[in-house]
Structures are given as structure tokens and as C-alpha cells.
């Protein structure tokens, strides 16, 4: 090759410089894609940081280890050794005990005690007290803070004294906000929080006393990575269940995982759509340059040299677009926190992520290059003889020759698909996602190309063979689609892909947001009713129905206290393999339960006297080594019974009601003492009134207000939903712009056509009708194909990649067809209306 890189770059720059206005669209297309990509990724990183901060708040630490025994000296030493490596820890003890007010003769109540070291707890989040004061001041050896609900039950107030065990504690404040409320080990009952010194003097902690020990860990900057710390804690505390902030709360975890995957996907989709636009623009650009390329070839330039020039030009445009895109993305990152602040009164701090920006530019350039490969490779086919005879008939090549020529196009296509798949896999952090993406793209390309080819053949056959009288303008418009030189096939494929991706974004985000909102639905119960007897259920429902501020019917879940005695006749050895807690019953399989193994019972198991069968939670089954077909023996209130394990399950949707790892058929738990836990949603400002009313009629029922804790989860979910909607809208808008521009890019071909029509007597009206038929046909077909492919692709993305439900939305699909047709027509004319004013001779003279 004689052409040096430097010379090629100079030639490329010369050409770009003189066509800057035309290239503006290309730059914008890349900018839209890169902007979405870097903005979404940068924002996702910031948002992820925000959510993990929330997650840490919910846990009040980075890691949590929970066990039911006191640590041995050895274990404490192991934890101290970890602390020396930058893993600070504090210890929270949770237990239950009777508490009584010393200020009146009220009945003692069972309180949930929480013992903390206020100098460390909480590591994240804030303990808010009423009256406001630092926790360290509130928790002295003689003082404690209490929940509103406990004081109400004790008929006490701030300033009163409460006796716990052997100690009198002075209540100095109530708890207004407790960050790790939802991470509590035991029932979230009537709260009393005290210092370790105070707890020691109650005399409650004896050997054999049942308390939950919760260790909170905070990772200092010099600490090892989370996974390594987690393993170290497991080794130090083998009996403990260890979790980290990433699993702090299922709502947050699930929402975060789904949102992150989805956002990566839509950012890639935005980039693909942008790249399609670039590919189309470069294709149109090179089409216009055919003469120049033929001239350069006649002057001695080889195909490789010309490809080098235009590749460099593409790279220049890619980088320019990438830089512009990063600026756009930065704008997205700046604007969004303002939105969050406005709606959620949260101080969202966003940082500028250089890595996201660099990645965005890199991917933008790479994707631009990939999508420009086909038009670049087509340079080899441009014959220099073209400039001698523009209208020289095209020789029909043999199929062997065509196959040989197609090899490089196929290779280019393969490179694009592999490249896109690799980028998708990298962005989403999953080869599976990359594979689905590349597969979806390949299938779509093939389907669209086939449909485009078939359509053009059908139109041609129809027009040539029909006996119907078709208006000449419509005939001409349709004939334009298949005449030589028209890029209808390429446009259909590009448009169809663009519609497919854009509509996929809409359909997936719609289903996903609905599902995410379901995880913390606005009507989720925010007040729990604990310890309701069977006899009280009816009357309690009656009270709730007439209570002011109740938003919806209550739900009651049966609970039978029991323990696991044996599995297949073998008694479990070791505390890890023991189970003691509440079990429950269900009739038909509920919607929120997913059977993982085995099968749920049928109606015969619901008949009176049916043998006990049970479904076990999959995590518990794994821990206790239980499988379908096993027989377990349970003991409840001194009575032993056996049940056959028929299924393993997991809870599909987040339930705000208590669940159990052991779910029996109703006859299986018949005649056993049962209590109920209920949940109801109450207007937050009227919860206190509800609590008083319930306490008056049902003093033995504990009414627990978790409205404040639920608020956090609700906010997180709402934030995620808003983020998804906002960024999806952004991607959809980018997609619409690029689709419009793809059609607009064909205007250059039309100049000559319009001029000839005018010369032959065509009026503006004639010309508008002819081209409108063409634009609308392209739009309708692309919309239809894109809609079908989007439906298929959305289903796959939701079910296989996001573990979410998919519901087909016919309105969205129909709207896509109509909107695409309108968009194609509008953008075609927006770009072409000036052509209508062109004087024929101006163009013909240049020929």
C-alpha cells in the first residue's frame, strides 16, 4: 500500500471538513447512542452507589452475621483479628423479655429488647429519637429508649421508668427512626433499646438464655474485598448466617439486580440504534461518494487505500460523536439527581465517572466502526467504469460469483454480531446476556431481510400482474420501492431493527416497572397484628372494616409453632440442621409461590382427614438436606406428626406478610394450636389511633407499626421505577430521532428523481403523493415487523434475563405501526421538502 496513514488521515479530514453539515447527523447519531450509554452507565453506577448506601443503611453495616449462641473466646479472637485487618465490628443482641412500667400498675408486656454499643451502632443510617438527641447520650447504664407501641401498651410515657429483669431503666426518648428495623432477628415487636452495660445489669443474659446475636461489620478503606471478608467471618463463626449489604433486603436486592441488568441492556440498545443510524448515514454518504471513489480508483487508488481513508473518517466521526455523547451523558447525570431530590427529598450525590465516559467513547467508536463495515467493504465493488457510463447495465453474476462476493459481506456481518454480543456481554457482565442479544439481533436481521425481500418481490409481482386499476401515483410510489438504486431493503432492515429495539425498551420497561412496583406495592400492609387467636380473627376483621384510615382489607396468615424432629427418621445433628419456628398452611398453590421441585398438592389433599403433606422452602431444604419424597416429623405443642414432602418452593413475589419455610396442607395442621399474624395498610398519620383502638378491644394482640421502615423500601422501589422510565424514555427518543434520520438520509437519491418528474410535468402535489406512498409503506412494514420482533424479544428478555413476567400489550404494538408510518412520512418530508423547490436545470446541468 502506497498511501501512508498520515496522508490517508489528511485526505479523510479534508473531506470531513468540507462536509461538516452533512456529517452532523452522523455525529449526532453516535452522540445519542454514546450519551445514552455513558449517561445510563454513569448514572447506574451513581444510582447503584446510592442504593447500596440504602442497602447498608437497612443493614446498618456492610456485613451481618447472625447466630443464636454467644461467641466463644476463640471466635471473639478471630473477629478481633479481622478488626485488625480493617473490618470493624459491633455486636447487637436481640432478645425478648417482660417489661413493666414502674409508674403505674399496668400489666407487664413482652418486649423486644435490642442491646447495642451506641459508640458504634449504627454504622450506616441514623437513629432518630424523639426528643432529638445523640444515641450515645440516650443509652447510659441507667437509661433506655422505647418504641411508641411499647409505651402505649405500658400506658407509659417519656420520662417514666420501666422495669426489665432486675433493672429499672429510665425512658429518655422514643424511637422515631431505626435504620435496620427490617433486619431484626426476632419478631419486630414492642421495642426497647438499651446499652450493653444496662443489659448486663438486668441479669437476663444467663447461660442458655435465648437471644439472637447480630454482628455488624464495617469495612474500612484498607479492608479486604467483601467476598473475602464474608468467607473469613464464616470461618470465624461457623454457626452464623452471614449476609452482606448486597443482600440486605430482598426488595432492594431484586430491584437493584433487575434494574442494573435492564439499564445495561437499554443503554446498549440505545447505542445499537445510534450505530444503525450511523451505518445508514455512512451508507448514504458513500453512495453519494461513488463517483469520487471511482475517480480515485481511476487515478490509481486501490480499494484498500480508499477503505483506509473512509475508515479513518469513520473513526473521526465516531470519536467526535463519542465526545459529544459523553457531554450529553454528563447532562443526564446532572439533571436526574435534581428530579430525585424534587420527588423524594433525598440528597442524591452523583459523581462524574471517568471510566463510564471512556468506556462510552470506546464502545461508541467500536460500534460505529462495526456498523460502517458493510458500506466500507462495498467500496471494493465500485467500478471505475461507472464514471464513464453511469447507466451501464449491471451484469448478472453467476451464483458462484455472487457467493464469493458475499463472503466478505457475510464475514462483516459475522464480525458485527460477534462484536455486539461481546459488548453486550461486557456491559451486562454476563455471557448469557451477550449471547441472547447477539442471537436476537441475528434472528431479527435475517427475519427483516427475508421480509424485505419478499415484500419487494410481492409488490413487483402485484404491480406487474394485477388487473386492478391502481392510481398511477400510488403505482409509482410502490414501484419506487423495488426499482434499481432504491435502498428500500436496507431501509426496511434498519427501520425494522430500530423499531424492534425501541419498542422492546418500552415493552420491557413497562412490564419491569409494574413488577418492581409489585415488590413494594403502594397497598402493602404497613401495620402488623401479631398473636391473633382463631377466635379473634372475625372480630378483628370487623373492627378493621370500621376503622378510619384503613386502606384495604387485612390479610391473616396462620402460624403454628413447631420444631423439626427428624428427616426420614434421622434426627438432625448440630444446630445448623435444626429448625424451630412457625409453620403455616395454604390451600391451592398461591400465585406468589413458585414450585422449584416436585409438585404442589391437588384438591384431594384439602379434604378433611387427608394425610399431611408439606412444601419446604428451597433454601431451608438445601440447608436441612430435605428433598421431595422425604418424610419429616414435626412436633407442635407436644404432638408429633409426620408429613411427606411433595415440593420445594420459593416465594415469587415479595410478601409483606410473614412466610414460613414449611407450608402444609390445611388438614395437615388440623387440631393444632394456631395463632394468626395479620397485616393491614393504614394511613400513616392514623396508625397511632388504630393501635389504640385495637389495643382497647384486643389487648393481647400486638400491633406493630412498620410504616417508617416500609417507607424506605417504597422509596427505593419508586426511585428504581423512575430511573427505568426516565432512561427508557431517553433511549426511545434517541431511537425515534435516528429512525427519522435514516429515512432522511435517502433524500439525496430523490433529488434527481424529483427533477426528472418536474421536467416531465409533475406538480408538487404529484411528487408529494408518490413519495408519501413510499414512506408510509416503508413505515408500516417496518412497524409491523419491528412490532412482532419486539414482542418476541421482550418476552425472552423478561423471562430469561430479568426473571420477570411478560404481558403482551397489543396497544403498544399497534401504536408502533402507526407511529412508525407517521414518523417515516414526517421525517422523509422534513428532510426532502427543499427538494420540491429545486429548479430542474440546476441539477441536470451538473450531470
Amino acid at each position: 500500500m502506497n498511501l501512508s496513514l498520515r496522508t490517508a488521515a489528511r485526505i479523510a479530514w479534508r473531506e470531513t471538513r468540507s462536509s461538516m453539515v452533512k456529517f452532523l447527523f452522523v455525529v449526532l447519531a453516535v452522540a445519542a447512542g454514546v450519551g445514552a450509554l455513558s449517561g445510563v452507565r454513569g448514572f447506574s453506577e451513581s444510582f447503584h452507589g446510592m442504593l447500596t448506601a440504602e442497602a447498608r443503611t437497612v443493614m446498618a453495616g456492610d456485613l451481618l452475621a447472625r447466630q443464636f449462641v454467644m461467641p466463644s473466646a476463640q471466635q471473639t479472637a478471630a473477629l478481633d483479628a479481622l478488626a485488625a485487618r480493617g473490618v470493624d465490628y459491633t455486636w447487637v443482641t436481640e432478645t425478648v423479655s417482660m417489661a413493666a412500667s414502674k409508674s403505674n400498675d399496668g400489666t407487664p408486656v413482652l418486649a423486644a429488647l435490642k442491646v447495642v454499643d451506641p459508640s458504634k451502632y449504627p454504622y450506616y443510617g441514623e437513629m432518630k429519637l424523639n426528643p432529638p438527641m445523640p444515641l450515645a447520650s440516650a443509652l447510659t447504664p441507667d437509661t433506655a429508649v422505647a418504641g411508641d407501641d411499647l409505651l402505649m401498651r405500658l400506658n407509659a410515657k417519656v420520662g417514666d421508668t420501666v422495669r426489665v429483669g432486675e433493672k429499672d431503666l429510665h425512658i429518655v426518648a422514643t424511637i422515631a427512626q431505626e435504620p435496620d428495623r427490617m433486619s431484626a432477628s426476632l419478631n419486630i415487636g414492642l421495642r426497647l433499646m438499651m446499652s450493653r452495660e444496662a443489659f448486663a445489669s438486668t441479669g437476663l443474659m444467663q447461660i442458655g438464655s435465648r437471644a439472637a446475636e447480630r454482628y455488624l461489620f464495617k469495612l474500612e478503606p484498607n479492608a479486604p474485598p467483601v467476598d473475602e471478608v464474608r468467607r473469613s467471618i464464616r470461618r470465624a463463626l461457623p454457626e452464623a448466617m452471614v449476609t452482606d449489604f448486597r443482600q440486605s433486603h430482598p426488595i432492594i436486592t431484586e430491584g437493584l439486580d433487575q434494574a442494573t441488568t435492564y439499564l445495561s441492556l437499554i443503554s446498549l440498545i440505545a447505542l445499537i440504534v445510534g450505530a444503525i443510524g450511523v451505518g445508514m448515514a455512512m451508507h448514504a454518504h458513500l453512495q453519494q461518494k461513488m463517483d469520487h471513489i471511482a475517480v480515485m480508483k481511476s487515478l490509481g487508488a486501490t480499494s484498500k487505500e480508499i477503505i483506509r481513508i473512509y475508515t479513518i473518517q469513520t473513526l473521526m466521526l465516531g470519536v467526535m460523536g463519542g465526545l459529544a455523547g459523553v457531554a450529553v451523558g454528563r447532562g443526564v447525570e446532572e439533571v436526574f439527581p435534581l428530579l430525585i431530590k424534587k420527588y423524594f427529598s433525598l440528597n442524591a450525590t452523583m459523581g462524574w465517572h471517568v471510566t463510564a465516559a471512556v468506556q462510552g467513547i470506546g464502545i461508541g467508536v467500536l460500534t460505529t466502526l462495526l456498523f460502517t463495515l458493510p458500506p466500507l467493504l462495498a467500496i471494493r465493488k465500485i467500478r471505475p467504469a461507472l464514471i464513464l457510463r453511469r447507466d451501464m447495465p449491471e451484469a448478472k453474476l453467476s451464483w458462484k460469483r455472487r457467493l464469493t462476493d458475499a463472503r466478505s459481506a457475510l464475514a462483516a456481518g459475522g464480525a458485527i454480531l460477534i462484536g455486539i454480543g461481546a459488548i453486550a456481554a461486557w456491559l451486562a457482565g454476563s455471557a448469557r446476556v451477550g449471547g441472547y442479544f447477539a442471537g436476537g439481533l441475528t434472528t431479527s436481521l435475517i427475519a427483516l431481510a427475508c421480509v424485505a425481500w419478499l415484500l419487494l418481490r410481492l409488490v413487483r409481482s402485484f404491480l406487474e400482474g394485477t388487473r386492478w386499476r391502481i392510481p398511477s401515483l400510488m403505482r409509482q410510489g410502490l414501484a419506487n420501492l423495488y426499482r434499481q438504486g432504491n435502498q428500500a431493503q436496507a431501509i426496511l432492515v434498519a427501520l425494522g431493527l430500530g423499531v424492534m429495539f425501541t419498542l422492546t425498551v418500552y415493552m420491557v420497561q413497562d412490564s419491569l416497572v409494574a413488577q418492581i412496583i409489585e415488590t413494594a406495592p403502594p397497598d402493602a400492609p404497613n401495620v402488623f397484628l401479631v398473636g391473633v387467636t382463631q377466635a379473634q380473627v372475625g372480630a378483628l376483621k370487623e373492627l378493621i372494616a370500621h376503622q378510619q384510615g384503613v386502606l384495604g382489607a387485612p390479610t391473616f396468615v396462620p402460624r403454628v409453632a413447631s420444631r423439626l424432629v427428624s428427616v426420614n427418621g434421622e434426627v438432625p445433628v448440630g444446630p445448623r440442621f435444626r429448625y424451630a419456628g412457625n409453620v403455616m398452611w395454604e390451600g391451592e398453590k398461591p400465585d406468589y409461590v413458585r414450585v422449584v421441585e416436585g409438585a404442589w398438592w391437588n384438591s384431594s389433599a384439602l379434604q378433611k382427614g387427608a394425610a399431611p403433606v408439606v412444601s419446604v422452602g428451597v433454601e431451608t431444604a438445601k440447608r436441612l438436606k430435605i428433598h421431595p419424597g422425604d418424610t419429616i416429623e414435626m412436633e407442635a405443642s407436644g404432638k408429633r406428626f409426620q408429613a411427606r414432602v411433595v415440593a420445594l418452593h420459593e416465594w415469587e413475589q415479595r410478601r409483606f406478610m410473614p412466610t414460613s419455610s414449611f407450608v402444609f396442607n390445611p388438614p395437615g395442621l388440623a387440631d393444632l394450636p394456631v395463632s394468626f399474624d395479620g397485616g393491614v395498610r393504614v394511613e400513616p398519620s392514623l396508625v397511632a389511633a388504630f393501635q389504640r383502638a385495637a389495643f382497647e378491644k384486643f389487648p393481647t394482640v400486638t400491633v406493630v407499626n412498620i410504616a417508617d421502615a416500609l417507607q424506605i423500601a417504597q422509596q427505593v422501589v419508586d426511585q428504581i421505577a423512575l430511573v427505568i422510565r426516565f432512561l427508557s424514555g431517553f433511549a426511545i427518543l434517541a431511537g425515534a430521532i435516528i429512525l427519522a434520520a435514516s429515512i432522511a438520509g435517502t433524500r439525496f437519491r430523490r433529488v434527481r428523481e424529483v427533477v426528472i418528474l418536474k421536467t416531465l410535468g409533475g406538480t408538487k402535489r404529484h411528487i408529494v403523493r408518490i413519495f408519501s406512498v413510499e414512506f408510509l409503506t416503508l413505515g408500516v412494514v417496518a412497524g409491523l415487523m419491528g412490532g412482532i420482533l419486539a414482542t418476541l424479544f421482550s418476552g425472552i428478555v423478561l423471562r430469561r434475563l430479568l426473571n420477570a413476567q411478560f404481558q403482551f400489550d397489543p396497544k403498544a404494538a399497534l401504536s408502533a405501526i402507526v407511529l412508525t408510518a407517521l414518523l417515516a412520512n414526517a421525517s422523509g418530508w422534513l428532510a426532502s421538502f427543499r427538494i420540491l423547490r429545486q429548479k430542474p436545470l440546476e441539477v441536470l446541468r451538473e450531470e
Binding site: L3, S18, H292, L299, G300, P384, A385, R389
Partner: protein
Amino acid sequence: MAIIEARALTKIIDTGTHRVEILRGVDFEVPAGQFVAIMGASGSGKSTLLGLLAGLDTPTSGSIVVDGTDITGLSEDKLAVVRGRKIGFVFQSYQLIPTLTAEENVLLPHELSGGNIAAGTAKARELLDSVGLSDRMDHYPVQLSGGEQQRVALARAFMVKPPILMADEPTGNLDSVNGGHVLELLIALNRREGTTLVLVTHDRSLTERADRIVTLRDGKIIADEIREPAGAARP
């Protein structure tokens, strides 16, 4: 010694629906330094013949040797190399790159051949000066008249000092005055540099200065008139 040899050239286009025989067996030799005019009506195949001789297209059958190189079976890239070194081409519609200035257009073949830019720029300016356009070097084609554009194209064709110059209706888009100027320049440059000049035209008046006139009809040579022996002294 023939600088161009064409033997039994045919060019047939099969479009799938019909067959077009553009050239039907053309034998043709051009001695070095000769000025040959190829004439014929529209559709006679003269531009196709010129394109084949210039390596811009490939024949269906037959052979072509250009300055000792058999270009018949060469790949597109190898043909490009031959074109870059041995053939200067002037088109009817000038075919300047609209996004380059006059100077940059003339420089282009030199850049494509990997030549030194400074030396090339000096040569380009010299050539533009020789065609009377030294004050238009920084103008874009759209700012030049037809005659001026064709003169730039001429300068470009001579940039790499090719042994052969081919021109396809070089004055076809020009008025008679400009056309005359361009023809004079072509011939003057041709005489000065000693290049072989093959010119396609349908205008008989252009052929009066030619050494030889070859006439085509329906893809065959029907007349080959030597006006003056090649290499004979010229006034």
C-alpha cells in the same frame, strides 16, 4: 513499438433479461507518442473501448497490453496501480472532487502514489500555472467555470507524468472557445511531454490535429485512418 496493444477485444453485458454486445472483436495497436482519436456515434462502443484500454473495466474476452504490462487478467487493485503509474485520464464531466481545492485535486494522484507532499505541492502549482490557473489554486470546483475545471483535470492527469493520456470527450461539456483552449493545452502538454494521447470524441473538428483516426460502429472498427506517421516531425 506499440505502447498499447489490444487483441480480439469483446465486451458483452448479460443482464439476465438480455445480452448487450458492446464490443465485438476489436484489434488495436497504438505506437508510443501517437495522438489517436477514436470516433463513433453514440452507442458505438468508443467510451467502452477507452475504458478497457485504461484498465477501468475488464473485457469479456481478448487481451490488452499497456506499456509492456498485460492488464487483461489483473485484479482491481493491480489495475489501480497500473492506472496510477501509466495512465492519465481526462473525463467529459471533469470529475474533480468537489470537496478539494484545485491544488488538492491536482495533488491527489501524487498523494495516492505515496509521493513526498512538499515536492508534490510544488509540482501541482507548476502544473496549475502551466494551464493558466495559478490564481485559482485555492478555489473549489464549484467556484470554477467548466473550462477552468477541465484545465484542473488536465493538470491532474499530468501530475504523475504518465506515458499515456486518455481523454473521454474532454470538450463535450464546454463551449467552443473553452473547448478549443482545452484541446490546445492537451496537445501542447502531449507534445512537450511526449505522451501517447488517445482521445474519444464524436466531434470531427477535434480530430483534425490527430495523427490517426479510428472509427467505431456497432462495436467494431470500421475505419482506421493514419493522418501522419507516428514520430514524424511536427511544425
